[in-house]
Symmetry: C2
Subunit: 238 residues, 2 copies
DNA sequence: GCCCATTTGTACGTATGTATA
DNA sequence: CTATACATACGTACAAATGGG
């Protein structure tokens, strides 16, 4: 691994274990150079990662303040998937695959995904049970050209771990959209909704590889009372 | 302004005006060095800004691909405020201030904001009319220690422009949370809700300055049918 | 399969500017 | 005013991926 990434992970660990507690200052860039035996640029790259992740706030002439990261415990932002989410939380949960089949791209799907009509895609529907209730429903379409095989046991686990670790895909970025929509019959049947539920949250995602090909289109349906989205955002200077 | 930031703005403009159309490659870093007469590090900093903003995708050995930015037309992410949002859109809209007064921090507010009970804050409530209907309601609390004066005409315009351009505040980052909540009587009275509306989206934000002081706590209420949140997210490597 | 030019990624060194205390 | 700390900028070198011959 890179030096700057290793230093990032080390500093992250020390912040999380309170070796560098909130409100304190990290060692200066000069001191960190000596501590890790690297150049200043390498230190600054590591500090940039910490800054973007919301761990520190730098101030010219003063130093790098450690931010309070405990109040920010649910990082859905930054392309984290459901399975990775669970690892951080302590929720009893279960994934049930209700559909896993190859289909052809329809005109409707082509419009939202930019895939050619007739291309082969995997169609995957998964119920996400949390504490016994289906409160999330994930509908995925995956380009078969990129994902030739999609075994059931992988679909029940994390498809992202399968794509990255076993298929060697490099997932680069995603475009996400959050909206509220009326419940359809299909959703009604597949989710454990309450009588008073008339709407669901829909998180639509297009996910792209490093070569800018879109390989995944997802609609993730969330019951209103179970949805929460937390984001750390830096002010982009205009 | 910085060189790398100016180069970023110039490249951004050229991407938006299709001088560098989607799917094409930017000039190589070496070529850009010659074009702008700067060092490679400066070019790379500008390209990093483009990468983070979702304009390009770099690939080692190949170059920097221009991404299709048109399909991504509503950048609410990254701490953009309502007023800045409007500028990009072509929506008839209006802001009505219904409350603007100094108060003291209550224990409830203290819990969510980390402000001391009894500190002075501005309490600001604004109705956001879009096409004549109040579909967004913003409840702001602003630390009076940081914002000594808050004139009505500034509150009706963009408070962020007032803070940054006139007060010289440096807004650094924010923690945001999106949830769905039941409608309260207060919300019912201040928003133009439909008979079938039982819930609203609540976007809660804590906004921080460069010195890590929290100066703003906001609850933004959105009518379900008018809410949309779009995000560009890069995969953070684990 | 291999070499080679091109392109981006990482890393180091140095110098100067600017903000803070 | 000075020492310290971060910000910007330039230069250099080598590694790694890509694509053409």
């Amino acid at each position: 691994m890179n030096k700057f990434h290793e230093i990032f992970l080390d500093l992250e660990k020390k912040i999380l274990t309170n070796d560098y507690p909130p409100q304190s200052l990290l060692p200066s860039e000069n001191q960190l150079m000596k501590i890790y035996g690297v150049s200043r640029e390498t230190i600054r790259k590591a500090l940039n990662l910490l800054t973007n992740a919301g761990y520190i706030q730098k101030k010219q002439g003063k130093g790098s303040f450690v931010l309070d990261v405990k109040r920010f415990d649910f990082p859905l932002s930054g392309l984290t998937s459901f399975k990775e989410l669970q690892a951080n939380q302590h929720i009893s949960n279960q994934t049930i695959v209700t559909t896993l089949e190859k289909e052809f791209v329809t005109p409707q799907l082509s419009q939202v995904s930019d895939w050619q009509v007739g291309e082969e895609v995997w169609h995957l529907i998964r119920q996400r049970r949390i504490d016994g209730e289906v409160v999330i429903l994930d509908k995925d379409y995956l380009l078969a050209d990129v994902i030739p095989e999609l075994p059931l046991e992988k679909a029940e686990d994390s498809i992202y771990a399968y794509f990255e670790d076993e298929l060697g895909l490099e997932i680069a970025y995603a475009k996400k959209e959050i909206e509220v929509k009326l419940i359809t019959n299909e959703i009604q049947e597949l989710m454990d909704l309450r009588p008073e539920d008339t709407h669901v949250i829909v998180v639509t995602s297009l996910v792209f590889l490093e070569d800018t090909t879109c390989f995944e289109y997802t609609e993730s349906y969330h019951r209103l009372d179970k949805f929460r989205f937390v984001e750390f955002a830096r002010r982009r200077k205009i």
